[in-house]
């Protein structure tokens, strides 16, 4: 018989501490992930390219900028140059490896800027409301409506084509859709009763936005981040392809630019044209699949099981 004065929690073997709680959470996350084939595929691509970018240049320390002698120009793949050479005799494989760092690096850093701006504006706009919301949203809409490629081209042309400028340009022009998504989610989280409770116990607005709204909006932000990364990498590739890239740090986009401008296609130099293109497609695909998997993870309604 149960002692009516002592409430029994659900049956436990031991008293759980902080570490056990986190461990259980991770186990659940991994289990959900494993069941999602697309997600696992995305993870593998992500890991693959991540490794290439991180340790590739260490394993294959070939200088992509070393211009070869006249007869090494546009050579098809052989044992010295695994992917052949480009129109200036530079090793394509080397360029591909070092280019991965540039493409991914620019993409991820730009994404970081985008997410920070988008989240700040989205949460502030959604939670504070009123005039602040109106002003911020009109500002956001301006960026949403401007065609991004011409905007980026103009800014890149004005600021110059160094890596950092490219990162800033992409970061500052892509945040508007994130801001809108975050704002929408904030509006719905704002109405939940635990926000009211936080106000009742004396928390101020900044505390509530940081400790209550943000954690509940975060899953969405995270899933969105991954998809934004894919777009950022594409944006960088596009800019570089159009000639706005940084020549001292050649990215995949730059390789495509050189391939295009030097007429590699008409000569049949597929080793120059295909690899960077395939890499971009592969990375973007991987990020997109990963993004879908995370969306499913964070939104139980989307799960198929």
């Amino acid at each position: 018989m149960v002692d009516p004065n002592v409430l029994q929690p659900k049956p436990e073997i031991k008293i759980m501490g902080k570490k056990d709680v986190h461990l259980r959470k991770y186990q659940q996350i991994i289990a959900i992930f494993k069941s999602n084939k697309i997600g696992m595929f995305g993870v593998s691509i992500f890991v693959f390219f991540g490794l290439v970018a991180l340790i590739g240049p260490l394993i294959f320390p070939y200088d992509p900028l070393q211009i070869g002698s006249g007869d090494e120009v546009l050579q098809s793949p052989d044992s010295t140059h695994w992917l052949g050479t480009d129109d200036l005799g530079r090793d394509v494989f080397a360029a591909l490896i070092s280019g991965s760092r540039v493409s991914l690096g620019i993409g991820l850093l730009a994404t970081f800027i985008t997410m920070v701006i988008g989240t700040l504006i989205g949460i502030s706009s959604g939670y504070i409301g009123g005039k602040v919301d109106t002003i911020l949203m009109r500002f956001t809409e301006i960026f949403l409506v401007l065609p991004w490629l011409p905007l980026m081209l103009v800014l890149a042309a004005l600021l110059g084509s160094s890596i950092w400028n490219i990162i800033l340009v992409i970061g500052f022009t892509s945040w508007s859709s994130t801001a809108r998504i975050v704002r929408a989610q904030t509006l719905s989280v704002k109405e939940r009763q635990f926000i009211e409770r936080a106000k009742a116990i004396g928390a101020n607005d900044f505390y509530i936005m940081y400790k209550h709204v943000l954690p509940n909006v975060f899953p969405l932000i995270f899933a969105n981040t991954i998809l934004v990364s894919a777009v950022a990498i594409l944006s960088e590739t596009s800019l570089s392809f159009l000639g706005m890239g940084d020549a001292s740090h050649p990215s995949w986009g730059m390789m495509l630019h050189y391939a295009f401008t030097s007429g590699a296609a008409s000569v049949g130099a597929y080793w120059f044209l295909l690899p960077p293109g395939l890499c971009v497609v592969g990375v973007v695909l991987g990020f997109t699949f990963l993004g879908y998997a995370f969306e499913e993870l964070f939104n139980p309604k989307l799960r198929r099981s």
């Binding site: 436990e12 009763q193 009211e196 936080a198 004396g202």
Partner: protein, 346 residues
């Protein structure tokens, strides 16, 4: 099982004789919301679509008293509760907490006020942040106000609060997430976190309506115990008149933003005078079969608070309304000791 209510009545009388200071005094409180009529109308139209959720109410809550605010949806009871804690903006009138108007408080005073006046929410599934563990949720009132100095102190105070709320042993619940607990346990967490600051006044907004009937008693007993041991005053907001009758000292019945009757709990339940109160009592479900029970089932539903009837707001549905009711709004007048009714026929 001891007769908890009897003991309360006795201790109450003693307390009231000792200390009759008013914890809460509400004078002519009004809370009006501007309704939106759509973009163009908002810009150009001079008419405003005002929702008069609370439209001029007066009442007091003494130290150690449990006063219930009873009414159907749209009557303004929840809005009143929120206004008392400044969670909603009051449009007019005065709310005094221990003699001081709450509107005039500066930031520092507001912080102190929030520690002394707390709220228990209706939905145990929505009022706890699903991403936080229990220890952080319960300690939050303390951490937000900078009242804890160490992790050890935090743990100790949370365990104490959990056990005071009936969750023993406290350690077992510290690192759980809300979704791992039952509705009753979650509501106890809400109460534990409300009590951890040792408040003097609590607004309980439908604290048991989302719980199964067989676990309501524990929560209600907990509330009453806190009043008995620590002299906490409660504003108990509910649509269930029988629960209000069970634990409160006084009951105020609200209709469409105004109090229509207020008095001692037993009196309201047994011999209320306002036609609306009488109708409510007559249709209240009871766990017994009463042959030929006289039920006054009113026609229609409570009108929209943006279109309040003229005169006495209850007149369109009142079974005994006459001419004066359509034009003149009745004021609350005293008809017995502590018993007030707003009706022309009384």
């Amino acid at each position: 099982m001891t007769n908890v209510i009897e003991a309360n009545v006795v201790s109450n009388v003693i307390k009231m004789k000792e200390n009759t200071s008013n914890v809460i005094e509400v004078k002519d409180l009004k809370v009006h919301f501007e309704g939106s009529q759509g973009f163009l109308k908002d810009f150009f139209s001079k008419e405003k679509n005002t929702v008069r959720a609370v439209d001029g109410i007066d009442f007091v809550i003494k130290k150690g008293e449990i006063v219930s605010l009873v009414g159907e949806s749209g009557c303004g009871k929840t809005t009143t509760g929120k206004a008392l804690l400044r969670l909603v903006h009051q449009s007019d009138g005065e709310i005094l907490f221990k003699g001081e108007p709450i509107l005039k408080k500066d930031r520092r005073e507001m912080k102190l006020f929030r520690q002394k006046a707390q709220m228990i929410f209706q939905d145990p599934y929505q009022s706890l942040n699903p991403r936080n563990v229990i220890i952080d949720i319960v300690a939050e009132p303390l951490t937000v106000n900078g009242l804890i100095s160490s992790e050890q102190e935090k743990k100790e105070r949370v365990i104490e609060a959990l056990e005071n709320a009936g969750l023993k042993p406290g350690e077992r619940f510290l690192y759980k997430y809300p979704h791992e607990l039952s509705g009753g346990q979650r509501q106890r967490i809400v109460i534990a976190s409300a009590l951890i600051l040792n408040p003097e006044f609590i607004v309980a907004d439908e604290p048991v309506s989302m719980l199964d009937a067989s676990i309501r008693a524990d929560i209600l007993k907990l509330m009453v115990e806190q009043r008995d041991e620590k002299g906490i005053s409660y504003l108990f907001i509910t649509h269930d008149l029988s629960l209000a009758w069970l634990i409160s000292d006084r009951i105020a019945i609200m209709y469409l933003g105004k109090i229509v009757e207020v008095g001692d709990a037993e009196l309201i339940a047994g011999s209320c005078l306002h036609p609306y109160s009488k109708a409510l009592v007559s249709v209240m479900p009871v766990p017994r079969k009463i042959k030929n029970r006289e039920r006054t089932i009113l026609q229609g539903e409570t009108p929209n608070p943006s279109r309040i009837p003229t005169g006495c707001r209850f007149h369109p549905r009142c079974p005994v309304a006459f001419d004066r009711c359509k034009t003149e709004e009745p004021a609350l007048k005293e008809v017995g000791v502590g018993h007030f009714v707003a009706c022309h026929l009384v």
